[in-house]
Amino acid sequence: MTSIEPNAAIPGSASADLEMRSAGVDAQSALGTQTGREGDPSGPALATAADTDRSPSDLTTEDFPRQPDGTAQPEGFAPAAPPVTPIPFRVASGRYRSQAVGFQLELRVDVDGRRPLHKLSGDYFRLTGATVSYFGSWTVDAVTVTTTPTHVKIVGTARTTWSTTFTVATVTVPRTRVFQPAAPATLRWSTPSGAIGATYVCAWEAGAFRTVELEQDCESAVTPFASYNTGSLPSGGPARDLGIGTAYAEAGLQVVDTGGTSTISTPSNHVWNNASLHHAMEAHFSRRQERPQFKVWLLHAMRHEFTTATSTLLGIMFDQQGLHRQGCATFYERIAGDSPINQRHQLHTNVHELGHCFNLYHSFHKNRVEPPMPNRPGSLSWMNYPRMYDPGNGSPAGEGPFWAAFPFQFDDLELAHLRHGFRNNVIMGGNPFGTGAASDAGEEFAELLSDTSGLRLRIGQAADDRPLLGTPVVLEIDLTVERSQEVNTREQLHPKYGFVQVAVSRPRGDVVVHEPPVRHCATPDLVACASGERLPISAYIGYDATVGHLFEDPGTYRVRAVYASPNGSLVLSNTATIRVGAPRSAQEDAAAELLLNDRTGMAITLHGTDSPYLVQGTSALQTILAEHGDHPAAVYAQVVLGMNAARSFTTVEPDGSVHVREPDLGRADDLLQNAIRASRGDGGLDDLTVYQAGAYLAEAHARAGDTDGAHQLRSEIRQLAQSKGAPESVVHSLDE
């Protein structure tokens, strides 16, 4: 899925001279005149910036760095400035965006303004057909800045979430005065040896590095926090009014309150727990979707069940179901009211809980992050507990010293995460809470930001939602056509045809794009589908050509699929969670050993085999059947061995002679009928595999000349499918 990468140049293309482009007037006059990127977004021709430059009258406080008193003013523009003072330059820092052609770049420049971190970062979005998806992120951790009268030039080497040799970023921002429109920033990629890659021209978008929508709801009887003046009590920073939005604005993030706060009526003395909070979020968070988005829900409530006699729970990021970090809550039972101390608690707790939604851990829990980092108990940060504050070296620790020195801000490392962390590490609904390291997982789980393909892809584990270690993992892949169009046949939605790809994020921390061991090379076989038609298919994905057994550890796996439709759209599925349970007995452990053998995995992939090279796998399946009949995998062993028995097997001997083992219909009947019977209730195989096994057996009977037997089998399976409400495409596939 990443054969084209956005930093590279098109071979043979000329690279325009960056210095020429980077001069403000030249770059701006070039906008809209560049061509040649339509065919390949990674080419060297300029990506024209969106024509979103604003007039001076459009300037907002977002354009200006914050003053010590919390107000926003143009840099150098004190009210008493003498009229002869030169008009100052705009800051270069902020968020820029290239035009949405092929790859779109969101560029973040952080070299001046408030608490500059001297970093660059960006996110790429890929436009394919009628879909837009996140592609990957990059960060330059340390930059060299050169400022001339005409421009600011920033150079550094990037870490990326995808593989590229074009890692040297050179960003040029023409200098403009504060009352001029912001100039576009030009990013040129190159290799460390100087080979030129792609160039992007990005229009200025905002002073904030990221923008987040905040939806707040309130439990009845709770007065939600509004703002606190940090001068009300001694502190370590300048006095200013801080609310949630202004606290995050100081960090360089724009938090937009979406309004519409509603009151959630609860009985008096209501006590929340995490499940009820999650339910409330699903019911009241109007902008919530089960996908990553910079949108978050905050509930102002009274009391949580984790409060005990000597400890009060003031807040929690409760959302650890499905996609994490989309909601949090603050509890006012001990901090309600307008006393300065309580108002300070309310401010601290609200900003702190939202920090968790951005995937920040406590200052004293950083060693629990994946990957771990040292704790910072001496951090004067929103994410520390005052009572846990310990600057070390015998300096005063605890609540008093914390509040006396706390400047009401995030520490620098947290700021870097918020502003420049890889998108999936920061965005709500991205990586699980605590998984915040640079990872290459992002592109494989890229979220579609826009999808007008008229197709919907759903995946889920076909059978047991918590398979025991070793049990074959079968995925149900279900394509729904929401607008009449041609799509691949149901059969071709199996990953072995390559039109659907499956990625698996494993508990060991890696992400595997599943490579089926057996590939079917086929031209697209298209079928016209009416609106509403469903094409579900089941696919064994447990064994992989590259890594072997995909599900070889107990733990939680996240699975996602993408379908490359005939019109070029990439239709992304939901994320399915599969929890693989650990063996609980010596018997189960022994069964797992047999099933996780490489040859067993290959034998299952092939639906059984007589091959002497895989005899160990076949033997393992026979042992499962004979000695572990109660194991959930036994029914899969029946299917695999039964399907193999239902067909002939040809062996070419070393001397060149050919030996054909004929089908053993009696054995096939025993095994497959038993498997089908065992799956009529809740356990056993999933429905689609049952239909497949039945149809396979019927076909074997037909090949053997038993047309009556074949007819009866098909009829039974067809009736079963109809009784279970199988989609028409499935029932139709069972026709004779």
Partner: protein, 93 residues
């Protein structure tokens, strides 16, 4: 009295059993620490001062005699050790 056994840090999809004087009083699977509060679950069990509380998780066991404090804290440290002790007082958020 009702004893609050606070299952704190280090729990990951664990099966946890709490026994009081050898009798199983609380059992749950899928116990996972929420690091926004450093707590996975609070097991509330009947236990009088002097009773022996035992927590079992994975292949680890920890025991402690109940004192006057109605709270106990159990953590699994980063090296995988199980520790039971007094629960810290103060706000959690």
């Amino acid at each position: 009295m009702q004893l609050a056994v606070e299952l704190g840090e280090g729990f990951v999809d664990d099966e946890v059993t709490v026994l009081v004087d050898g009798r199983e009083e609380w059992h749950r699977t899928g116990v996972t620490t929420n690091y926004s509060v450093g707590i996975a679950e609070i097991a509330r069990v009947p236990a009088e001062p002097g009773a022996l509380v035992e927590v079992r998780v994975r292949d680890l066991t920890s025991r402690r005699e109940v004192g006057e404090d109605p709270r106990l804290r159990v953590d699994i440290d980063v090296s995988g050790g199980l520790a039971m002790g007094d629960a810290p007082h103060g706000d959690v958020f």
